[in-house]
Each structure stands twice: as structure tokens, then as C-alpha cells.
């Protein structure tokens, strides 16, 4: 069985695909429900607008299989907008429901800091983390986003601060997600992806 990388129509998938491929992972792009139904694990990458993302999933009939996989305990890794889409809603698209795997709402970064939050930032560890195994505490990761999930409302294992404390790494049972781009975060980013792949066995 393969790791399915969800293709909702606008993501920058080749870099995620390449990064996983370098680790020896067997991946496929999921453009239809059967690609998700037969997956060993699912990667949900995303850039751009929240509503384009969730609408893209719905138009391709990928939202229900994703829900079924989540309920069945299939490991799911969300990246950037993929993390945000796991929540019930986002301030970026009021009235547009997210996947709702996690409680709470994604919010705009405060106006007293530069937004988008673009560049390399460090994490504040809050709980032990599967994804951050063997990652140095002071490691920098590459972020590029204007919205984020407030750290206190999410199952946050590591937070980052940019105007507010927000969830940088989220882990809850089969749900794993990062607000940064591991595929763009050099060696430490590769380690995060390796931790995900190796936990699949």
C-alpha cells in the first residue's frame, strides 16, 4: 500500500512528493476517492486559500473518503494549509466548513506583526512529539502563512510565536500536522517526514 498525497488542484505537490521519495517512501497522487480508500497513509499538503482547498476536496469527492480514513485510524499528515483544513473553520473563509477533524477555528495572525509570517522560525515544545523525534530543540523550520490555529485550542505538541502563540505541530491519535513546510525546511524538515514515514512501518 502507498502513501497518498492528496491533490486538491492547487498545491505545490512535486516538492512534497520528491521529499518523501528521497526517504524511500512509495507515494501516489490522490485525485480520486479510491486513491484515498486504498492508502496506507495520507498526506494533505496545501498552499493558498482555505476555501479553494476545501472546495477542491469537495469537487473531487475527496472529503468523505478523508473523513472515513480519519475515522478508521489511517495516519494523516497535514502540511501548512493542510493543518488548517483539519479544523472546523477558518477566519480566512467565514461560513466555509473545514474538515472538522479538530475542534476550534483558524485565525488571522495579529496585525501588530508582519503577515504573512514568512521565513525560518523555531518551535516551543509543549509535549513529547512523534514528528519531532531526533529533531534538535533549537531547529529552524520554514513557515509561509497568514492564518494559524491558536496554540491553546489545538492538540498542540509544539507552538511557534508570531504575534500570538500558534500550533506549529499538532498530534492527536492518527492525526499529525505541521504549520511549517517540512519539504522546504532542509535536513530537520526531512527528519520530520522521516519520522512520519518510519512510524508507518
Amino acid at each position: 500500500m502507498k502513501i497518498s498525497i492528496v491533490d486538491y488542484g492547487a498545491g505545490n505537490l512535486p516538492s512534497v512528493e520528491r521529499a518523501l521519495g528521497k526517504l524511500g517512501a512509495d507515494t501516489q497522487l490522490a485525485t480520486a476517492p479510491e486513491h484515498i480508500e486504498a492508502a496506507k497513509a495520507i498526506v494533505l499538503p496545501g498552499v493558498g486559500h482555505f476555501s479553494a482547498f476545501v472546495n477542491g476536496l469537495r469537487e473531487r469527492n475527496l472529503d468523505r473518503p478523508l473523513r472515513a480514513a480519519f475515522d478508521a485510524g489511517v495516519p494523516i499528515l497535514g502540511i501548512c494549509l493542510g493543518l488548517q483544513a483539519m479544523f472546523a473553520a477558518s477566519e480566512e473563509a467565514p461560513g466555509e466548513p473545514g474538515l472538522g477533524f479538530l475542534q476550534g477555528e483558524v485565525r488571522a495572525l495579529p496585525s501588530n506583526v508582519k503577515s504573512p509570517h514568512i521565513g525560518w522560525n523555531q518551535l516551543r515544545r509543549m509535549r513529547s512529539s512523534e514528528l519531532l523525534r531526533d529533531v534538535p530543540d533549537d531547529a529552524y523550520f520554514y513557515f509561509a502563512h497568514s492564518f494559524a490555529a491558536p496554540a491553546e485550542t489545538a492538540p498542540t505538541v509544539a507552538a511557534c510565536d508570531h504575534g500570538m502563540p500558534f500550533a506549529a505541530v499538532v498530534e492527536q491519535r492518527n492525526l499529525l500536522a505541521v504549520q511549517f513546510h517540512p519539504e522546504k525546511s532542509g535536513e530537520v524538515g526531512a527528519q520530520v517526514l522521516r519520522n512520519f514515514v518510519e512510524a508507518l512501518g
Binding site: V47, P116, W120, R124, E187
Partner: protein
Amino acid sequence: MTLARRIIPCLDVDAGRVVKGVEFEGLRDMGDPAELAARYNREGADELVFLDISATNEGRATFLETIRRVAQQLNIPLTAGGGIRTMEQGRAVLRAGADKVTVNTAAIQRPDLISELAQQFGAQAVVLSIDVKRNGKGWEAYTRGGRDATGIDAEQWAREAVRRGAGEILLTSIDRDGTCTGFDCELTATIARAVSVPVIASGGASTFQDFLDVFQDGRADAALAASIFHQETHSIASLKQFLAERGIPVRLSK
């Protein structure tokens, strides 16, 4: 825990080769884009910018292939542009593997280009490049690689571009570009104060002190340079070490 200031090498590409303008001599070949990209990636660059300066259609067609080859080498972000006029051209650059697209002349001629790109790909994928010359009263935006004056105030243009969805400003001082007299800190600070998005300073970098100045006095979020890195006179690692010792937050690669 602070957002690190970024060091960004810029590579000008002409028909598939990295080139550098040399006074009185024209363009000098600096090497293979993918090889240079891999080297900068290894040395701790935080991001790379590739600009297409090809004068011919054949050269421009090669650019997408160059982006594809470069993206294979990288596990850091890649920005690409040069002559982007339409959303479809922007999409092609992103599809080829760039994370962000930079626009300049076409955005001044048709500001809707910024809005279209931001709506389609998100603000974080749109970098507005502004080439600026100091005039009597203030700062003026220029187009076509610094050749044409526009009469447009750079600060106002930066504000409008951000309103339209530009996620970063790549700010080049034409007065300083190629002079090795340091970044224009006054210009950089003016624009950095005017907009809510990160500002990348460019033009004039020569010494480590120039980078320190543009981060401290220029309030820059990132600093971009080309030739001083290509020539290997300055390694990115030693520049970052210099900045870290002086209290600038930078990502030191291990």
C-alpha cells in the same frame, strides 16, 4: 524564539546559464544553475531567487526547464520570475517547482496581475519586486530592469501592492546596485515601515557590515545579494556567523 533574518542569494539566468553583468564587458558566465543552487543549499542559504534575464523566446523557454532542474536540488524555498506578465506564466513557474513567483514591470503596467496571482496562489506565493531610484522629492519606481522611469512613488506602490495581495516586497536600490557601497538603509527602512509584509533588501551589498546595517538600520526582514556569493569571496556560513555574533537572529546550519 524569533523569526530569523534571511540571507538570499540571487541568480540571474540567461538561456539556462547563471550570468553576471560586468561593467564594459557585458555578461559573464558564472556556471550551471543547478550546481550553484546545490552549493548555496549546502552552505546555508535560507532561500534562492532565480531571475530570467533572457532576451530571446528560446532563452525564456529554457527558464522553466532550469527551474525544474534547480527545484530537484533544493530543500529550501525557491522564488522565480523575470518577465512574468500573466497569471498563466506565473502558474507555469510555480508548476515547474518554484514556491513563489516575483513580478515587477507587468505589475506596474497592470496592477490586477498581483490580485489575480494572490487570489489563485495565495499572498505567500507572490513577491512584488520594485526597482527604486532616489529622485529630488523621494523614491521613484522604475521598470524594465531600471531603464524606464514611471513617475510612481515607490512607497505608495508598495502599499497598493500589499493591499492587492503581494506577500513580500523585493526592494532593489538602482542607485546602489552593482556599486558595492552597501544597501540603501534609508530606502529599506522607509518601505519596511510602510508595509505589513516582509521586505527583502537588495542592491549594493559588499561587506558583512552592509548586511548588519540593513538588518539593524534598514529594518529588513531579508537581504539579497548576487555576485558576492558567486565569487566565493564571502561564504554564507561565515556571514551568518558574523551576524549571529552581533545579535541578529539567523538560522545557523549544522
